[in-house]
């Protein structure tokens, strides 16, 4: 994980610089920190725009590229130093590299209070709309009476302090991951940790005590729940069908249907074809398995991202096109969120369809033709799709 550490002091000798250097050195197994100085940044002036100067552009570039930023601030007159304030003004005037960036605040000062007041000011400043950084809450790391804190090797003397600092750094790493999930655009990081693809938890509909990976999970689970089948009637909203009717009805849908619950367990597909004949192959023994067992590990991140989109409510459906079926088909995988009447996420309805026949029919009926750049099953292969699983793959 690549981080930038900003020294909030322009002093020739700075304890906050020592602190960041110590963090970079001591936790290099956890994080890769580049310490940046601000002493060459000119005083901000609204009437003399120097955004394009080399120092400011360098800060801009380094911050933009980093996964997160650690700011070490001294306390000057109960606030942050003007030197740091000025940097933040440049970085919120014409450019906004801190927008959406995970930031951790640390601080060293002479007072026993050790920059507590300047840290509070800094939080408020970073929260201003022009800056708009995402500051890690809590985990206030204050180094008071700083003139006594370091030994002659420039290491922090107190083991407990180092321990606490490590806890804060580890939390920050997790915080960065969480922020990335919240903001995940196309360029995805590894998000596989964000979903429990092994379905280790349980929800109130999980059939417990049965091996999810067993080939006959369905038979065992049906017995355990005394599930009805055959010509038994089931009352639905709204109608009455036998289980057989329900099966034939679902099999007649013009799509391959799959249901995975909110615990990430694969519970159902409308099985009426062999794997080889399906657009997205499934085998009867797979039913009941955790999603992790239905996908190769390299697509876990993409699968997790899709589920997160639906679970969080950010999207109700994520679609992707799989271009490997030849020019006569246009195969679309739609991952549709299943929600209850209160909007709670229950799972995914994945339906896989070849929509080419529908398009052809539409063209025929309306006498229209497609013209360039439109729907072309071969050249439309722009989506980031993994052809084995149909899930969105890592970019």
């Amino acid at each position: 994980m690549k981080l930038v550490g900003i020294v909030g002091s322009n002093a020739a000798f700075s304890y906050n610089r020592l602190l960041l250097n110590f963090i970079a050195k001591n936790f290099k197994k956890l994080i890769d920190v580049e310490v940046l100085d601000i002493k060459d940044v000119p005083m901000f002036n609204q009437s003399d725009d120097q955004t394009n100067s080399e120092v400011i552009q360098n800060l801009n570039k380094k911050i933009t590229e980093a996964d997160g930023v650690i700011i070490a601030t001294p306390e000057y007159n109960h606030s942050i130093p003007s030197a740091l304030q000025s940097v933040l003004e440049w970085l919120s005037f014409k450019i906004h590299p801190l927008d959406g960036k995970p930031v951790m605040i640390v601080g060293a000062s002479y007072d026993v209070q050790g920059s507590s007041r300047s840290q509070l000011h800094l939080r408020q400043i970073l929260d201003a709309p022009g800056v708009n950084a995402v500051v890690m809450p809590g985990n206030e790391f204050l180094l008071g009476e700083v003139y006594e804190a370091f030994d002659e090797n420039e290491d922090l003397k107190d083991a407990q302090t180092v321990q606490f600092l490590e806890t804060c750094i580890k939390k920050f790493i997790r915080f960065i991951n969480v922020v990335n999930v919240l903001q995940s655009p196309e360029g995805m990081k590894d998000l596989s940790d964000t979903e429990d693809l092994y379905a280790t938890g349980a929800i109130d509909t999980t059939v417990e005590g049965i091996d999810m990976s067993a080939d006959d999970w369905l038979e065992q689970a049906a017995e355990a729940t005394q599930a009805v089948e055959g010509n038994t009637y089931v009352k639905l909203n709204r109608g009455l069908l036998t289980v057989n009717q329900l099966n034939y009805f679902l099999n007649s849908m013009p799509a391959e249907l799959t249901y995975a619950d909110s615990n990430n367990q694969f519970l159902y597909y409308n099985h009426h074809m062999e794997k080889e004949d399906m657009l997205a192959g499934r085998r009867p023994e797979q039913v009941g398995s955790p999603l992790a067992e239905c996908h190769p590990e390299r697509v876990f991140s993409g699968v997790s991202w899709v589920i997160q989109q639906l679970r969080s409510g950010k999207q109700d459906v994520v679609r992707t096109q799989v271009p490997t079926h030849g020019p006569d088909k246009f195969v679309v995988h739609s991952y549709q969120a299943v929600r209850d009447d209160n909007g709670n996420y229950l799972g995914i309805n994945e339906y896989v369809q070849d929509i080419q026949p529908v398009i052809d029919w539409y063209l025929e009926q309306t006498g229209q033709q497609l013209t360039g750049g439109g729907v072309d099953a071969v050249s439309g292969a722009t989506s980031k799709v993994d052809t084995v699983s149909g899930a969105t793959a890592k970019a």
Binding site: N10, A11, A12, K39, P42, M43, F44, N45, Q46, S47, Y76, N77, H78, S79, I80, P81, S82, A83, Q85, S86, L88, E89, S92, Y110, D111, R117, H121, Q124, I125, D127, A128, G130, V131, Y147
Partner: protein
């Protein structure tokens, strides 16, 4: 007749806070002589080894010492006090500590609706720090929101209610200056000059 020094809290060429101070200067000219001090040519603060104030800062300090009271008008940058004003206060705190025990009144103007309220609260906290220790007039907030629209072509505030509010606060300040200076003088004659505070003298 009082003598006040006012500090314009920005280095910007075009400033609505400058307009505000000019208006105050003009409007209260029968009650006080008010000089407007520009901070835009002061160097950026960087701890000097000799703790000496550069020329411009010393000039400001002398003017503060001679004045009966100080008016600071600050814009709001990122919910706080602009770096240029912070830097000025750092110079004063680190070198001559001229603001200690000085009566101070705060005003502020900003483009947004809230008119620099957050900057003012930061500024109060800063002026309370031991190396500055100004005597800030309590419970008196004078803010101008949407400051670009607040003045007419002659530099007068257009909102009559704002002018009334400003009058009340200014009158309060004139009294506050008298009371505070009496108090400070009494204290000084009782004890010898209190040793000034320094963070770094440990």
């Amino acid at each position: 007749m009082k003598n006040f020094i006012s500090i314009l809290g920005t280095n910007s060429d075009h400033s609505t806070n400058r307009l505000l101070l000019q208006f105050i200067q003009k409007h209260f000219k029968d009650q006080a002589n008010i000089e407007i001090f520009e901070i835009k040519d002061l160097p950026a603060f960087n701890k000097p080894e000799d703790r000496k104030a550069p020329h411009g800062v010393q000039e400001l300090a002398d003017k503060i010492r001679e004045a009966d009271g100080v008016i600071i008008s600050s814009p709001e940058y990122n919910h706080s006090v602009p770096a240029a004003l912070k830097s000025t206060l750092e110079w004063l705190s680190y070198t001559n500590q001229a603001l200690i025990d000085k009566p101070v009144m705060l005003t502020g103007a900003s483009y947004g609706k809230l008119g620099s309220s957050r900057a003012q609260s930061h500024l109060r906290q800063m002026l309370d720090a031991p190396e500055l220790k100004a005597r800030i007039m309590p419970s008196s907030e004078f803010l101008i929101g949407y400051s670009l629209q607040a003045f007419d072509d002659n530099g007068n505030l257009t909102d009559q209610r704002k002018i009334e509010a400003l009058k009340r606060i200014f009158n309060d300040f004139v009294h506050f200056v008298d009371i505070t200076n009496q108090l400070v003088n009494a204290k000084e004659s009782q004890q010898k000059q209190a040793p000034s505070y320094s963070w770094e003298a440990k």
